[in-house]
């Protein structure tokens, strides 16, 4: 009986240790993922800002070119039709910029939410590992009660 009993004790210990170590490993992975999502959110904000700037720059360049072209056509810049055209162009451009900015913010927000989820998963994994370890110990005691 000595050898199987020794195996029981050792295997129960090993089961507990593996549960704890698995929990720790999952927690470390979750922490890593959380940081990844944080960084991703930051990158998404920066990328949105950059695209908004580029769009603004495009708009400014197009506006300047349109004004030069109107002048060439001897159109008064206060011309209503022209003004109306320019306003429409402006509206479109700023609408784009706004969309870019809000989209980037939404994506960053989403990434942050995922990061928070990873944090939660890590905490859950470590709690689960504690529970599993305790379960292994309890199972070991139960089996001992069966075969003693």
């Amino acid at each position: 009986m000595a050898i199987p009993l020794g195996i029981q004790i050792a295997a129960t210990g090993l089961s507990m240790l593996s549960s704890l170590q698995q929990g720790k490993a999952l927690k470390r992975e979750a922490a890593f993922n959380r940081d990844q999502y944080k960084q991703q959110a930051m990158q998404q904000e920066i990328a949105g800002l950059e695209r908004a700037n580029i769009r603004t720059q495009q708009y400014r360049t197009a506006e300047s070119a349109n004004q030069s072209f109107q002048a060439f056509l001897n159109r008064d810049t206060s011309d209503m039709s022209l003004r109306s055209f320019m306003n429409r162009q402006k509206e479109i451009a700023f609408s784009d910029i706004s969309a870019i900015e809000s989209g980037a913010l939404q994506e960053a927000s989403q990434s942050r939410t995922l990061g928070q989820m990873e944090s939660f998963k890590g905490q859950t994994a470590i709690r689960t590992s504690y529970l599993n370890a305790a379960s292994s110990l309890a199972s070991g005691i139960y089996r001992y009660h069966i075969y003693k």
Partner: protein
């Protein structure tokens, strides 16, 4: 240039994220699965062990604990689970205990039921009593048991009560039936016995009673086979009827016994006739029987079951016939015994007569001897006649003359033998011869014998039965003639031997003459058996008899001569015999005979030149051979072949030698010297090597070189061997034993010399040997010794006389215990024995030679 219209350019794209997956968690998950597997397998094993423990403990529980209900728990005592049991062990334990409880209860109930059944089986009210007692037993067993076990007890008990009650009832019924059946059978058998007895008596009253008994028996059978209760079956009824009819038949045969007793004229043959009549079954044949047997024969044949009982009737009749035959045989036997007693008496008398012959003959012989001694032949004749008459009378009584004829013959021949011996003392050879011939011719020969001898001869002729006694008389008379002639021959022979011995005394014996060799052998044997020379005793005691050979002028006894000649022929392969031959050869190969100033080899006188040469060559070759003297027969045969087939041998020699090369040249190349003695020894061996096989030249040279190095050792200034002196080699040199470490041997020798009080002489290694043993620095050897070696004083050692050891001839090689004599060199280089003087125990001054044995040197060095 067109107006630049603003278009939507931005399309939101998903941004990826790197998710971590190190695999570590999966590794630990694998470890966890492994642990689970280990847990599962070991858990199963532990459960199995726990079950076994539970089962074993349950099986070990005593029957008493299982049987006894614990009043507190209401369960069997064994149901209390031992402490420390887990669920698995407990379950197994309880399971087994419960099964054992049920089994035990069944056994107990069965035993009790059996006990009660036996107790009440013969009781008419047994079933009721059984039910009561067994019911009480069940109630007691239930006792304070909990319902579970009370139910078990109730179920088992009820089933057993029902089955056993029924069984008991059935048995009682069967028993009653069987008793009735047995009683009927008993009654019928009693009646049958009565019938048999009554019929056996044969009178009319008895026969009437027998008939009545028969009716009763039949009535009894019928009533019980057809009644309300059929106590006997039809088969049993049939069997009982046959019993009755058999009794009738047996009654008839019994009556025959009585008839035989009443009629003495009846014999066993009559019974045999009766058997034949019954066997034929023909009633008409009854009239052929004696009248007294006819009625009973008729009665037997009228029996209703005659054929059925025929074998039994026949058996009874055979018994009667056997008894009758035995009585008749007893009568004949009694008569035979009387005859045998009379014969035995006669035989005893004859034996006594026979036994009496020998002591009587002894007395007669003594009487006859007295008459002979007193030369009274008449009285002897009377005694002889009386004795022979008595023997004839005995022969008549014995009805045989075998014993008496033998007795007569012994008496006659003893008497004649004594008479002839008397004649031996009073006759010479001529008279004895005449006496022999006269008797042999039964008196029909004219001889001139003294009167008393003539009377004896006539007496013998008269009483002899020559067809029987001739050989005996002839042997006796011839013996005295032979004895007288032997005495005369002996006297004559002695003169010849005397002459030979005279020549021995004068040292002029003839070594080649066979009679001289025989005489020498007889002298040496001196009554010992002739096999003496075939034993080691002859060699060991040579100092006692060898001087006689030397003193005779060198006459070697005939047996040693024969042994040596046989060995030379190569036909003897017995190692012991070869050793003897070599020993004898050595014994006489270098001796100094009386009257001679030089040593000589006596074998040269006895052996031919070829034989002598062959023996020496074989010896030399054998001494070089790997197996030594054991190869002697093989070498002798090989060399003998070489001599006998010279041309074949020369062909072999040619194959070995190069053009213009000689055997001597080949040998010189091998040994590096031309020493004659080395040549002599090695040459024989070379000859043997060539003659013995087809080895090529290189192999032969290799063999010879190896043997030379193994057998010829450097003398190193310690040993001197005259045979090989100039080459500084010897087969008995100490380097053969001690190799390049001879100095300890020299030191031992010098200690021996010092212990003997010798102060002016010592042994010493030569410079060359010292250098070889590295006892001297090499440069010293190179610079100094090399110069001095030529001037080394071989006569001195450190200013003292140099002693050297000379091996004694035939004392063996270094493989044996060589005997050396200490010698010194004289001024001319000749050898002289070294002598020294000492005072012995009696105060006398003694001069002696110094001998040393190799074994002593070995022991000295070892110490």
């Amino acid at each position: 240039m067109a107006v630049i219209r603003q278009q939507r350019q931005n399309i939101t794209k998903p941004i990826g994220v790197i998710r971590s997956d190190t695999g570590l968690s999966e590794q630990w998950a694998s470890v966890g699965r492994l642990a689970d597997t280990m847990i599962e397998s070991s858990f199963n094993e532990l459960k199995r062990e726990a079950r076994e423990k539970g089962i074993e403990t349950a099986q070990a529980a005593s029957a008493a604990n299982i049987r006894t209900i614990d009043p507190i728990t209401g369960e069997p005592e064994a149901f209390n689970i031992p402490s420390g049991f887990g669920v698995e062990a407990r379950t197994a334990y309880q399971d087994i205990i419960e099964r054992r409880y049920v089994s035990q209860t069944e056994q107990d109930f069965s035993a009790e039921a059996q006990r009660l059944a036996i107790l009440y089986q013969n009781d008419s009210n047994g079933v009721a009593k059984f039910k009561t007692d067994f019911g009480t037993y069940i109630e007691n067993a239930k006792g304070t048991a909990v319902p579970k076990f009370a139910n078990i007890i109730e179920n088992i008990g009820s089933a057993m009560l029902a089955s056993n009650s029924l069984n008991l009832m059935s048995k009682q019924s069967q028993k009653q039936h069987e008793e009735n059946r047995q009683q009927i059978e008993l009654d019928v058998n009693d009646l049958a016995n009565k019938i048999e007895s009554l019929i056996g008596l044969g009178d009319s009253k008895s026969l009437e009673d027998a008939r009545n008994a028969s009716f009763l028996a039949e009535e009894l059978i019928e009533k019980n086979v057809d009644g309300d209760v059929q106590f006997i079956s039809n088969a049993e009824a049939k069997k009982l009827r046959r019993t009755v009819s058999l009794a009738k038949a047996r009654g008839a045969t019994r009556r025959i016994n009585q008839i035989i007793l009443d009629n003495e004229d009846l014999e066993s043959g009559d019974i045999n006739d009766l058997q034949i009549v019954l066997q034929t079954g023909n009633v008409e044949n009854i009239s052929t029987l004696p009248e007294s047997l006819q009625d009973v024969a008729s009665e037997l044949m009228s029996n209703e079951d005659f054929n059925t009982h025929f074998d039994a009737i026949n058996t009874d009749l055979r018994g009667i016939q056997a008894n009758l035959g035995q009585s008749e045989a007893d009568e004949r036997m009694r008569q035979t015994d009387i005859d045998q007693e009379e014969k035995q008496k006669e035989d005893d008398e004859k034996v006594q007569l026979k036994l009496g012959i020998k002591p009587e003959a002894q007395k007669v012989n003594d009487t006859l001897d007295k008459h002979i001694k007193s030369s009274d032949l008449f009285a002897a004749q009377d005694t002889l006649n009386a004795w022979f008459g008595k023997l004839d009378s005995i022969a008549q009584k014995l009805e045989s003359d075998i014993d008496t004829t033998t007795a007569k013959k012994r008496t006659r021949q003893l008497l004649f033998d004594r008479l002839i011996k008397d004649v031996n003392g009073v006759t010479d050879l001529e008279e004895a011869t005449d006496f022999r011939d006269y008797i042999d011719n039964e008196g029909d020969l004219k001889v001139d014998l003294p009167d008393d001898v003539q009377a004896i001869a006539d007496f013998i002729i008269k009483n002899a039965e020559f067809d029987v006694d001739r050989d005996s008389i002839g042997a006796d008379t011839q013996a005295i003639v032979t004895a007288k002639r032997a005495v005369i021959n002996q006297n004559s022979l002695s003169a010849s031997k005397q002459n030979i011995r005279e020549s021995f005394i004068n040292s002029i014996g003839s070594p080649t003459t066979k009679s001289h060799q025989n005489e020498m052998e007889e002298i040496i044997l001196n009554g010992r058996p002739s096999s003496f020379f075939l034993t080691a005793d002859a060699i060991n005691t040579q100092e006692q008899w060898k001087p006689k050979v030397l003193a005779s002028g060198g006459v070697i006894p005939s047996t040693p001569v024969g042994i040596v000649k046989s060995a030379i022929s190569g036909m003897v392969d017995d190692p012991a015999r070869i050793n003897l031959a070599v020993s004898y050869f050595g014994m006489f190969s270098s001796v100094r005979v009386k009257g001679s100033t030089q040593e000589k080899n006596l074998w040269q006188n006895v052996l031919s030149a070829e034989e002598f040469s062959a023996f020496e060559e074989t010896l030399y070759a054998a001494s070089m051979s790997e197996n030594g003297i054991n190869d002697f027969p093989k070498i002798a045969a090989t060399l003998s072949d070489a001599v006998n087939n010279e041309s074949e041998y020369q062909e072999k020699v040619k194959k070995v030698l190069d053009e213009g090369e000689t055997l001597e040249g080949l040998l010189q190349g091998i040994v590096g010297t031309n020493n004659a003695n080395v040549f002599l020894e090695m040459n024989s061996y070379l000859k043997y090597k060539i003659a013995s096989g087809n080895k090529d030249k290189d192999t032969i040279i290799s063999d010879m070189t190896r043997y030379y190095e193994q057998h010829y050792h450097d003398t190193q200034g310690v040993v001197i061997d005259p045979a090989f002196g100039p080459v500084g080699k010897s087969r008995q040199a100490l380097s053969g034993v001690f190799g390049d470490n001879v100095l300890p041997a020299v030191n031992y020798l010098n200690k021996v010399v010092a212990d003997l009080g010798i102060k002016d002489a010592r042994f010493g290694l030569s410079y060359k040997a010292l250098a070889r043993e590295q006892l001297m620095p090499r440069d010293t050897y190179q610079n100094v010794i090399e110069e001095e070696i030529g001037t080394e004083d071989i006569q001195t050692v450190k200013g003292k006389t140099r002693l050297q050891l000379q091996p004694m001839r035939y004392s063996g090689t270094v493989a044996e215990n060589v005997q050396y004599m200490a010698v010194v060199l004289d001024k001319d280089g000749g050898l002289e024995p070294f002598t020294y003087t000492y005072v012995d125990d009696k105060g006398r001054t003694v001069t002696d030679f110094l001998y040393v044995y190799l074994d002593d040197i070995k022991r000295g060095v070892a110490r």
